[in-house]
Subunit: 383 residues, 2 copies
Amino acid sequence: MSVTAAKGFTAAGIAAGIKESGSPDLALVVNRGPRLAAAGVFTANRVKAAPVLWSQQVLRGGQVSAVVLNSGGANACTGPEGFQDTHATAEKAAQVLGHSAGEIAVASTGLIGVRLPMDKLLAGLDKAAVELSEHGGEKAAIAIKTTDTVHKTAVAQGDGWTVGGMAKGAGMLAPGLATMLVVLTTDADVDAPGLDAALRSATRQTFDRVDSDGCMSTNDTVLLLASGASGVTPEAAAFAETVRTVCDDLARQLIGDAEGASKDIRIEVVGAATEDDAVEVGRSIARNNLLKCAIHGEDPNWGRVLSAIGTTSAAFDPDRLNVAINGVWVCRNGSVGDDRDLVDMRYREVRITADLAEGTESAVIWANDLTADYVHENSAYSS
Amino acid sequence: MSVTAAKGFTAAGIAAGIKESGSPDLALVVNRGPRLAAAGVFTANRVKAAPVLWSQQVLRGGQVSAVVLNSGGANACTGPEGFQDTHATAEKAAQVLGHSAGEIAVASTGLIGVRLPMDKLLAGLDKAAVELSEHGGEKAAIAIKTTDTVHKTAVAQGDGWTVGGMAKGAGMLAPGLATMLVVLTTDADVDAPGLDAALRSATRQTFDRVDSDGCMSTNDTVLLLASGASGVTPEAAAFAETVRTVCDDLARQLIGDAEGASKDIRIEVVGAATEDDAVEVGRSIARNNLLKCAIHGEDPNWGRVLSAIGTTSAAFDPDRLNVAINGVWVCRNGSVGDDRDLVDMRYREVRITADLAEGTESAVIWANDLTADYVHENSAYSS
């Protein structure tokens, strides 16, 4: 269902020849209206790819009529020529669709520092426009894959309206955001400020709390487009919650398909004085390579959790920290707790609970283990 | 030579049975005076092992007559009982040596969250005291090894005085400091404030700029002991420079023996507006898992360098960044530079130069690549 689950959208995914493998590499998502409202959230990396710089400008107008996405090249660190390539992409899509280039967002993913084969990409847009369909959501989701092993889509229903979406992302998954391209669509009748509020709230609690490998991308883009085709204007809270549900679903799929991972680690920090403290501690745990190796080895090494907590500025007393792994409180009051041999770590999901014993705030961060396969995938060839 | 290169020191290293393997695991370093001045630098981790808490107290007095070091157990996250174990260790050493417990520093390394076998450790101190010798430096350096493949010692000569030292550390190497135990000794006649100034200046530019795997230990301890036995009081600058030389030598040995590493990565950040900016950028590059994998694969993936720089708050313009790998400027002005095929990465040392083009400050950070062997060493068993 993906981006065409909501009424008013068509999509396509084709092989334009950008990838040498001949796999699908170009996706087009078109909003047929009647509304063309949109919001976007982009990477916090200060080194931003050309399509991010372009799309940030487009989103300032609050209107997006179409999104062009390509895999096979990130168009990042490509200088003024790279920005011209993105501009030319939007112009070509505008011409093919009869839209204005200033309302066309562009997103790219792949290797940094390489120019895109523009002849293939522009010719591909002609082909993609012909293939646009109300059933094209799956093909679009497939065309944005890079090292993803599966394509990722999600849908949630409101009362007379729908939110759907697609995502790609497998490596370089980290807060703010994570090498991900995400397009969400809805037929709810919501204006651009309403979309922006719902999207920011949702990403803050979902994509921003996914930290597979601590690495922040130059290309991350999350877009939310509203067609208004359902004719229904939902209550703001219900809409925000539904957007959050779809983002959460996609974020979990990203973690579940992270490069080389064998474990999905759910890190819940509780008893924090503030939510910021909880998030800081969760991220520090999520990024500790030694702990990530231990989890891979199914070793409930809670000492590495404590040493990660100790590097943060969060409020806590080292002698009051408690840590549970898969429900067993292996560390109590900063010291040895229940028998670590009671911890069963055979399954893919591993739950770490860190209790700071300072307050009532909490946060959940998702991470992956560190494996030889991760090293292999990221050292054997450029990506 | 190690800690007994300087006059006025004896040392020993023995197998006390703390390690199940039967390898050496207990070291003793004794300052015979006439001076007993000392300074120390400890982990910045807020979760500190019992021996760190103890030795910080001891160092406040500025006098250390002996250091007890054990491998085979970190005595971290062991609660009040663990602190009592450290206290008992100092008391026993005081009794054996005829010193005051309040002048005996203790350092431990090994698994977190496990109590030490105190019967074996205390009995070992009797044995170690008998073995104390002016030639015992090498044995002491061997006894503090954990996953180190070689023991590490260094010596530098001043004008009539000497600075020598030993270090252990192989994993959890990161700024502030790095799972390391280091004991430096000198026969120069320097008081505690003079030692403190020289040691802080040296560690800031050496051990604090080693970032093998981004993980900060609970046990890091660097001690500098002066016996004054040479009768020479060196000029402060010359003394500080000699201490820095020994620290730099040991720091390089730590990086060269890091767990599972196949490359030593020298990251030099130049053109920074401030030294802090240079250090922040260097650390961000040093900790980027994707880049560390690429270096392992001998792939000059400069895009990953730029994406690491982009996560910092340092002053820079993305369009003016330059990056060289092994002398080839593969990125110029934030975009594609010289041919990456010119980069020769066959050797163990890899040099990355990141030019922020903002000023004249610089810093060097040392890191390692990320390898399947690192994952194996840190997942196959608890450490």
